[in-house]
Assembly symmetry: C2
Homo-oligomer: 327 residues x 2
């Protein structure tokens, strides 16, 4: 588990670049999914591609934060960047469902007023996180699903893409194999929980969290995981923390993971690190729930716990940016 106290940020691993010190205490963390991600099965080329993509997504958020932008805009931009990258199972890189479609889920929440927006099982939306944000800002609801959510998207001119935009030869081969095996499988043959997410604390002291996913390969029956569920896959509250999860969604829903961390901080007085340890490394492990999450608290501390072999992740804290993949 990576834990970065805002005061001890120089202890972080894998420094990518250093920025000149300044007084803006903003923090951003992102993830591109957790799971059986082993250095032994990774090529140098593939590792470089993931590292670059994570770095680019992190930068798209930090750029906004360092000029005084909001945590909400930063997590939106970072997740949008990950959705546009075919390496991650969200947006463009979404896996195939049993019917050969792409059904995506996303949610976003802002910590200063607990406003949130989510979409579940949407098809053809270029950036589901933008649609989730529109649900939050332009509708009276917080969760829209399926065809109805797509009608809402059309009514407010959210960009759609043709099927070809989401088509990827690698994903297609994964789906064909899953069809042959008649299995609902995770993102990769290496068992990866494909989800992307971002959490941030801006210079105004506000928190925000965003999560987006293409779900499970060959999924059927309109299965929805934890990503669009406020309290399970996503949560933000200025008084405690902002959380974005990635893992076996069913377990994350039943354990109400994101809100559990917030409650352990608010009601039991745990620190962000203690709460993350309790939920991800103890509770979820006991219940068989594999995965991880990224978290930031009101003081700008960052925590990136996962109980799987790896988690694609990057963070910017204490004026330093970092990217990591393995344990």
């Amino acid at each position: 588990m990576d834990f970065i106290s805002n005061a001890e940020a120089t202890e972080c691993i894998i420094p990518i670049y250093l920025r000149p010190m300044n007084s803006t205490p903003f923090t951003l963390a992102i993830h591109g999914g957790a799971g059986t991600i082993l250095q032994s099965t990774m090529t140098a080329e593939k590792e470089q591609a993931y590292t670059s993509a994570l770095h680019a997504a992190l930068q798209s958020g930090t750029r906004l934060l360092e000029s005084g932008g909001t945590a909400l805009d930063a997590v939106t931009a970072a997740v949008e960047s990950l959705e546009n990258c075919p390496l991650f199972n969200a947006g463009k890189g979404s896996v195939f469902t049993h019917d050969g479609r792409h059904e995506m889920d996303a949610s976003i929440m802002t910590g200063h007023n607990l406003a949130s927006g989510s979409v579940a099982g949407v098809t053809g939306i270029r950036n589901p996180i933008r649609l989730a944000r529109a649900v939050m800002e332009q509708s009276e609801h917080v969760l829209l699903a399926g065809k109805g959510a797509e009608s809402f998207a059309r009514s407010i001119l959210v960009p759609f893409e043709e099927e070809a935009y989401f088509h990827d030869a690698f994903r297609h081969a994964q789906w064909q194999q899953a069809l042959l095996d008649d299995k609902v499988v995770l993102d990769h043959t290496e068992k990866k929980f494909g989800t992307v997410g971002a959490v941030a604390r801006d210079v105004h002291g506000h928190l925000a969290a965003a999560t987006s996913t293409g779900g499970m390969t060959n999924k059927k029956w309109g299965r929805i995981g934890d990503s669009p569920i406020v309290g399970a896959g996503t949560y933000a509250n200025d008084a405690t923390c902002a959380i974005s999860c990635t893992g076996h969604g069913e377990f994350f829903i039943q354990s109400v993971v994101a809100y559990d961390i917030s409650c352990l901080m608010e009601y039991k007085g745990l620190t962000l690190q203690e709460a993350c340890e309790e939920v991800v490394m103890k509770k979820l492990v006991e219940r068989g729930g594999e995965g991880g999450l990224i978290a930031v608290d009101g003081r700008g501390n960052v925590c990136l716990p996962f109980n799987s072999d790896g988690m694609y992740r990057a963070w910017h804290a204490g004026n330093q940016s970092h990217v990591a993949i393995y344990k």
Copy 2:
């Protein structure tokens, strides 16, 4: 707020009938929705119809509990009874969507292993709570939505009904009025949050919760409320409590209401009554979230808080059954 300590059950209001005392400490509470339910707008005939229906639903659950049945079976039976009654906005009595359809949500959770099952936006299912339970017991998932959930229902032979089964002249008139007004409205002209639910503690000490709804009249865009969301509208954990909510779903999702009560008990040491008071009468009121919930804890205490004018409710505790509607 009705609070019934298991030791003080004789203080309950509106006793309906007394059973001979025995030593089985089971408890059951049900609700049929909260909102602006005023005695001044109710006829004696209508009140009698609601009272009888609540009593019948309560009996369908207590009958199982007193013969040693499980909390899970009791909440399923009680909610099924309410779903079959056209007076309540769930199952047969579901309101019309913007498209003139009936899109129903339901969820169920059992406290001894935190297993849960939910369905969202399903059409034509006779008893959505049965389908939610099948998701829990017969699928590897916890939340299925829309057409996909209906395909799952067909695959396991869950009963469907024709459109005519759900047609009700009163609901149809409500929908036509809502279409004219171009408004997404609550269950009744009297502003009622139409949802049904049940929570129980069985003689084995296990808890369970179940919730089912037809949502909001004239709803569109595939809107989903808190009813199918574990942690928001439904939650059960033997270590703390079982909860089923009814109210303005958007607020209940953002406040993660059901799990919040569990956390206040587990992490802050509040009693069921104190936790219900904190969440329903303080937090939700401050945030503008109108509604209520029913709750039972591991000791068999019952609490039925609501911050609206009324809540259709009934409970059986300490060998006595009770039905109430107004504050």
